[in-house]
Symmetry: C2
Amino acid sequence: MCELLGMSANVPTDICFSFTGFLHRGGGTGPHRDGWGIAFYEAGGYRDFRDPHPSVRSPIARLITDYPIKSHIAISHIRQANVGQIRLANTHPFTREMWGRTWCYAHNGQLEGWQALPLSFYRPVGDTDSEHAFCWLLAALREGFPEAPELVACDAALGERHRALWQRLHCLCETLRAKGVFNMLLADGEFLYTYCSTRLAHITRRAPFGRAELSDAELTVNFAEHTTPDDIVSVMATEPLTSNEAWVRMVPGELLIWRQGRILARLTPDSSAFAP
Amino acid sequence: MCELLGMSANVPTDICFSFTGFLHRGGGTGPHRDGWGIAFYEAGGYRDFRDPHPSVRSPIARLITDYPIKSHIAISHIRQANVGQIRLANTHPFTREMWGRTWCYAHNGQLEGWQALPLSFYRPVGDTDSEHAFCWLLAALREGFPEAPELVACDAALGERHRALWQRLHCLCETLRAKGVFNMLLADGEFLYTYCSTRLAHITRRAPFGRAELSDAELTVNFAEHTTPDDIVSVMATEPLTSNEAWVRMVPGELLIWRQGRILARLTPDSSAFAP
């Protein structure tokens, strides 16, 4: 199984602490030796770093921990290959452009019958179930929504304008979950979408900030020393990354829509309710 | 003016030597302080590294010179901003997926009336003339050629199958050249396309390999120590990068199609001839 790491924050934040713990799972404490990648939405744009080698030995991964890149959304993935060879084209995250935004996606799990998902607008470059599903999903969104819903300042109005889009996205995720295991991180630079099929947990850190201890490496950070009282930083991971904090586990079929560190909307299979 | 650097090789080759010289122009010997990027087509896929900071002070650029990435096609760009702010979204190279291939593009020059080029399939993420032109150009290719021409082993057959596509590409480049200055590097993982509007030079290195001295940094390399007799490596740059080799300057309106270090086809405005 692969592992996912995500971040949503209301201020440009480096993900070094979480990435350090996550990195150790890439061939260190974990079996995920088949490549890794990390994507950042910075104030000025998008970039990603990918490497088909284990993250614990990757000079590029070391660069990321040494050269803190501050972003408001980040998505990372370490891979244990099941479908598709170990090569760069099969290394998450995957990206495509839609509506003039760079969409970034990483998947944990395995799908059955994914080859039958019809492709149109976007085509996979590699040969994984994950990228195929991404191409299918994004094209389905694009067909339903040729233009992006308008971005407005008010959260309630933002939710209202995006309701149909997010319900469609939830429906597409549910279709993929029915084909196997589909834990997903997806972002477009404005929103981070986290969808849980089996395993995904999150934590929101805000004032008063405390200390956190990594589960996978001997490292403790006192967030109070690195933050201001208004900062809100949420981190999502396949398994909780720290040993002394209360992570929230998502439930199967749950889609959370994050913006600036906070949950803007929550969609579940049982409820068409659009909370919070 | 920005500067371009490209490479096409028949064996996975690192571009460290050329990139070192090129890098020095990014705020060192040259005025190109507004960001840089480099893209690699490796055996297993595509990746790029981009930074909106001057390349001479960029830790990511240092990584690229210290950690030789071997590729058969590389495209690099250092930027002196004219249209569009200095930010990551405006930093070349730009990429889009077409036909299940990652297309990569970098532009040197400035266009007039680029806002009127109609957009359809692809939309710019940033706000440069360069990315707008790329989105227009790629969509125009896609409209004319919904599927990629078949790749075959024989060069002559390959050229025959791609003739219409390459003529269309040349025509699109000529349209852009009529709008200002349009020197371009474009690649799809199979071919590297170099188009000259005003300034672009190239050199092909093959056995017997000799020594080369960088123009912009005190560095000499003896390629004979790093190559085998069958290697063919071609490098393209806005201005020749070495002081002791005979670079060939392209002529305005010339499109060269490179594969595995060699020129596969040459298209010019004066001739519909399709040589060599």
